[in-house]
């Protein structure tokens, strides 16, 4: 990944204002691809255990937000903090310097991501996919990692598919393995990037059920980019509407879906209604 020059955070104390401390903080985050600005000085705080649904038209920057948080793409400006620590920088002798690879890996391992196209490792079984990271990043022994993996695959309802390869699983099953794989690192934050967009309506349900269970049974902060309005309405604590790299409107789903304030939001929700 190429490191682009960033605006340096002013003073660490200026950020940690109100308690409780946000689990994820985007401060003035900007992402540009050449002349195109995809994220425009975005500010967003996500509280611990909060479930945030991110909706909006394509090209509005929703997936990019998750991608810069997951460090898949470098920032063009601004800063991100995870669990109180800066993500792409680290504090050294009171100053902020670009993060070392070790710091980056440590902070990044608090975040897990599930992708639209699953991205399972095709040459490994479901079990092998799930034990890969705990064994080689967290240093668990094979038996410890396998035990954790079996627990998680059972949690997502796939304990009989441990020894199957991704090519032998349906889309919904593959996505559930992907969720188990991300959870194996015991992240504090889970990112879901349009995880049901590649699934047919019947298989959507099984994945959304797993996410519901996760939300109910575990302490996880979740950011979900989704087109599933019904799910967002029922599951999310907060809904954010993105357009052209900015958050146009955000709020609890009850108010957001019934009485949106901005015209752009109303326009988008109308189109969603018409599509159904």
């Amino acid at each position: 990944m190429k490191r682009e020059p960033m605006t340096v955070l002013s003073d660490a104390t200026a950020l940690g204002a109100a308690a409780p401390q946000p689990m994820v903080r985007f401060a003035g985050v900007t992402k540009r691809y050449g002349a195109l600005t995809v994220l425009d000085a975005l500010d967003l705080d996500v509280a611990p255990n909060e479930k945030v649904a991110i909706i909006g038209p394509s090209g509005s920057g929703k997936s990019t937000l998750l991608r810069v948080l997951m460090t898949l793409d470098p920032l063009s400006g601004g800063a991100i903090e995870v669990d109180g620590e800066p993500l792409t920088h680290m504090r050294k002798n009171g100053a902020l310097v670009p993060a070392s690879a070790a710091h980056l890996r440590r902070v990044r391992s608090k975040i897990g991501m599930v992708f639209q196209s699953f991205n399972l490792f095709p040459h490994m079984t479901a079990l092998a996919n799930t034990i890969e990271a705990p064994m080689h990043v967290l240093g668990l022994s094979r038996s410890e990692a396998t035990e954790r993996a079996r627990e998680l695959l059972s949690l997502v309802g796939l304990d009989d598919k441990c020894d199957h390869y991704p090519s032998q699983l349906s889309g919904g099953q593959q996505q559930r393995v992907a969720i188990a794989r991300a959870l194996a690192m015991r992240p504090k934050v889970m990112l879901f990037d349009e995880v049901t967009s590649a699934l047919d309506p019947e298989l959507c349900g099984e994945v959304l059920n797993v996410i519901r269970r996760l939300g109910a049974e575990h302490n996880l902060t979740m950011l979900m980019v989704t087109h599933q309005m019904g799910f967002a309405r029922e599951f999310a604590d907060r809904v954010c509407f993105f357009s052209q790299g900015k958050i146009i409107e955000q709020g609890p789903p009850q108010r957001f879906f019934t009485a949106p304030e901005h015209e752009r939001t109303r326009q988008f929700l109308r189109a969603v209604h018409e599509a159904v």
Partner: protein, 219 residues
């Protein structure tokens, strides 16, 4: 002069040719093993984010690929000694053919690496896998599987290129056949036998590669 194939004479010269073919096979197998590993190294270095490294390796690979093997082994055996680097003909020949083919295999590996979907790199990043683990556990198993036939191609090509080494006095199969022929002025039998050896060895290699391909196939 008897123009028909003299089987009796052929059987007489067979042991000498077999001994020489042992050199051919040894040079090829050792050279190929080196080319497989070195080629992978070149391919990965060419993708390095450190520009000078990527460019230097790229230049070296292109240079070696674009010049004949014959010239390269000449340099190794006849030119380097003037700079104090001497090696036996066998060593020079093996090193020369190994590095030459490493540049071909590096291009094959590069194609394989480029063919691994971006999502795989992203998933490895999302799981915080180290660069070593990303390559060894995720990317290489997916990059190498589809290019095994192309790599096997170069194994067969290398076998057939070993006669080039006769130019630096390596007595491999072809050179031995020529020597026997020029002693007795009967070239038909030694050349035919040499040709048959190459045919058999090449077919056997192709079969071996096919079996490796099948074993690596995913369910």
């Amino acid at each position: 002069m008897n123009n028909l194939f003299d089987v009796h004479y052929a059987l007489q010269i067979l042991p000498a040719l077999l001994r020489a073919s042992a050199y051919t096979i040894a040079i090829t197998l050792i050279g190929f093993a080196i080319a497989l590993v070195l080629g992978l190294g070149f391919a990965i270095l060419r993708r390095s984010p450190i520009k000078p490294v990527a460019r230097t390796v790229g230049f070296v690979v292109e240079f070696i690929r674009s010049t004949p093997l014959l010239i390269q082994v000449y340099v190794l055996f006849y030119v380097l000694p003037t700079y104090g680097v001497t090696m036996s003909a066998l060593t020079a020949g093996t090193v020369g053919i190994a590095v030459h083919y490493a540049c071909y295999t590096s291009e094959v590996y590069r194609a394989g690496l480029n063919g691994v979907p971006r999502g795989q790199w992203e998933a490895a990043c999302a799981l915080s896998l180290s660069p070593w683990r990303t390559y060894a556990g995720v990317v290489l198993p997916q990059a190498i599987r589809p290019v095994v036939p192309a790599l096997g191609n170069y194994l067969v090509a290398m076998f057939k290129d070993t006669p080039v080494l006769s130019a630096i006095t390596v007595v491999e199969l072809m050179q031995q056949a020529k020597n026997i022929g020029s002693e007795t002025f009967r070239f038909l039998e030694p050349i035919t036998l040499a040709g048959l050896f190459f045919l058999v060895i090449s077919i056997a290699s192709a079969q071996l590669v096919r079996r490796v391909e099948l074993r690596l196939r995913l369910p």
